[in-house]
């Protein structure tokens, strides 16, 4: 079980060539903006098409340029949380979450919905519109919507980057809980050094469209393989570490 990515894509002069494999664990794609992390995520989800390569989830090919396989995003069953969350503004919290329950049997939908509402602490918000709830609540709705159909993989494109710090700390803990509850590969894209150090089982460092280093956070941070990685892991907002040191323990 796991996710295997081996893709090449040229877009607007940017050249992505990255290859990695993870199991049912939380992997963080870490690097500066424009390193190709989000592009990789879009290729995995099928929102963009690689020029060549292979993407496999749980041993099943979603994309394989040599075999002519290209499963459309609708049929990949990958939960995706967007940076701006992309909640449907015209649907209530309940309808947003249910929209993600595509393919779930009718009699099971409501059961799963109440389960989601319960475990994501969205009680009493079911009938509110996204514009009427707080930032943290929106985050939880986005996660509930992505997870209700129990996807094969969860993809997260910097979902916490717009939050202020206390809320971000809370959401990180929340994500680690999800990681425990859903035994699937989770890929978190971030340029936040604290998230890169404290969150993942496996850290994958990106620079200029290439994977620079892959390993546990301790391995990468104590033994950066290149100058680029060294610069990344000693980034200047390192000091914020102390505010979240409790999370991983």
């Amino acid at each position: 079980m796991g996710l295997k990515v081996d893709v090449r894509k040229k877009v607007n002069g940017f050249d992505l060539d990255s290859s990695w494999e993870i199991g049912n664990e939380l992997a963080v794609l870490f690097g500066y903006s424009g390193a190709g992390k989000s592009l990789t995520l879009q290729l995995i989800a099928g929102l963009m098409k690689p020029d060549s390569g292979v993407i496999t989830a749980n041993g099943k090919a979603c994309f394989d340029s040599t075999q002519g396989v290209d499963i459309p995003p609708q049929h990949r069953s990958f939960g995706y949380v967007f940076q701006d969350l992309a909640l449907f503004p015209h649907m209530t919290v309940k309808d947003n979450i249910l929209y993600g329950a595509k393919g779930v049997a009718k009699d099971e939908r409501m059961e799963r919905l109440s389960g989601m509402i319960e475990s994501f602490r969205l009680n009493d918000l079911e009938n509110k519109l996204p514009a009427e709830i707080s930032g943290g609540q929106k985050q939880r709705v986005a996660f509930a919507r992505a997870l209700i159909r129990r996807p094969d993989v969860l993809l997260l494109d910097e979902p916490f980057s717009a939050l202020d710090n206390p809320l971000r700390v809370e959401m990180r803990a929340f994500l680690l809980q999800i990681r425990k509850d859903f035994d699937i590969p989770v890929v978190l894209v971030t340029h936040d050094v604290v998230e890169a150090y404290t969150m993942p089982d496996t850290l994958i460092v990106y620079a200029n469209g290439r994977v620079m280093q892959k390993g546990t956070p301790i391995e990468v941070f104590s033994n950066p393989s290149t100058e680029e990685v060294k610069e990344l892991v000693s980034a200047k907002d390192y000091w914020r570490m102390d505010t979240v040191s409790g999370i991983k323990s």
């Binding site: 989800a45 099928g46 929102l47 459309p72 995003p73 609708q74 049929h75 990949r76 069953s77 990958f78 939960g79 995706y80 967007f82 701006d84 992309a86 449907f88 503004p89 015209h90 929209y99 993600g100 595509k102 393919g103 514009a131 919507r145 992505a146 159909r149």
Partner: protein, 221 residues
């Protein structure tokens, strides 16, 4: 209001309403394709549908006669099959109004559909929904204001259609004389009193619809 005024008003509303129904169906479909799809000849298609907005209505009417007249390249076959021709019927007035009002719908709806956040569409795809479901549940509901505004504008335009209608449907009293045509006849025969009544009525109706279009085009989300 005398009976001929009442007839013209009723006919105008009927023609505009039926034309608007077709404008919504065809206009939203074409607007969606233009906004969301890439295909060969896309901009040419846009130009073709927009032309009636800038061409003199007589030119539009002329083309419609060439297409749908008894000897037209489409009308000929209809006539051979059924012995019926759309010319000089109130259906012809609907056709003329439809073609002239369609660009207003396409322009307004295309802009509204293009304004829908790309991420919302991608989100719908990643949640397992097909393009058709995404269009009907996400894109069109979010573009609703623009579509409603386009429909109201089209209705107002259809209500005021004159030139193409005159060429295609004629100006037959009690049969195809919509309000604009009736006003033309009344003014021509010097019946200013009845003409001004209709002019005021038509102005008020058009003003009301423009006001409604403005109200609906304001975005809520």
């Amino acid at each position: 209001m005398d009976s001929s005024t009442f007839f013209s008003m009723k006919l105008s509303l009927q023609v505009a309403a039926v034309a608007t129904i077709f404008v919504i169906i065809v206009g939203v479909t074409v607007a969606y394709l233009l906004a969301r799809k890439r295909f060969f000849g896309k901009e040419a298609l846009d130009v073709l549908f927009t032309l009636p907005l800038v061409l003199p209505p007589t030119v539009t009417g002329y083309y419609l006669i060439i297409a749908f007249g008894r000897n037209g390249f489409i009308g000929r076959h209809i006539y051979e099959l059924t012995g019926w021709s759309i010319m000089f019927t109130w259906y012809a007035a609907v056709l003329a109004s439809f073609v002239v009002a369609l660009p207003l719908m396409i322009k307004t709806a295309r802009a509204a559909i293009e304004a829908v956040d790309r991420n919302l569409i991608n989100a719908s795809y990643t949640l397992g929904h097909s393009e058709f479901e995404t269009a009907t549940k996400v894109v069109l509901p979010l573009a609703k204001r623009g579509i409603v505004a386009g429909a109201v504008l089209s209705f107002a335009r259809a209500l005021g259609e004159f030139g193409a209608t005159l060429m295609l449907a004629g100006n037959i009293p009690g049969k195809t004389d919509t309000m604009p045509l009736a006003i033309y006849s009344l003014a021509g025969s010097g019946d200013w009193a009845q003409a001004s009544g209709m002019v005021i009525l038509l102005t008020l109706m058009a003003g009301l619809f423009l006001y409604m279009a403005n109200r609906y085009s304001r975005r809520v989300f």
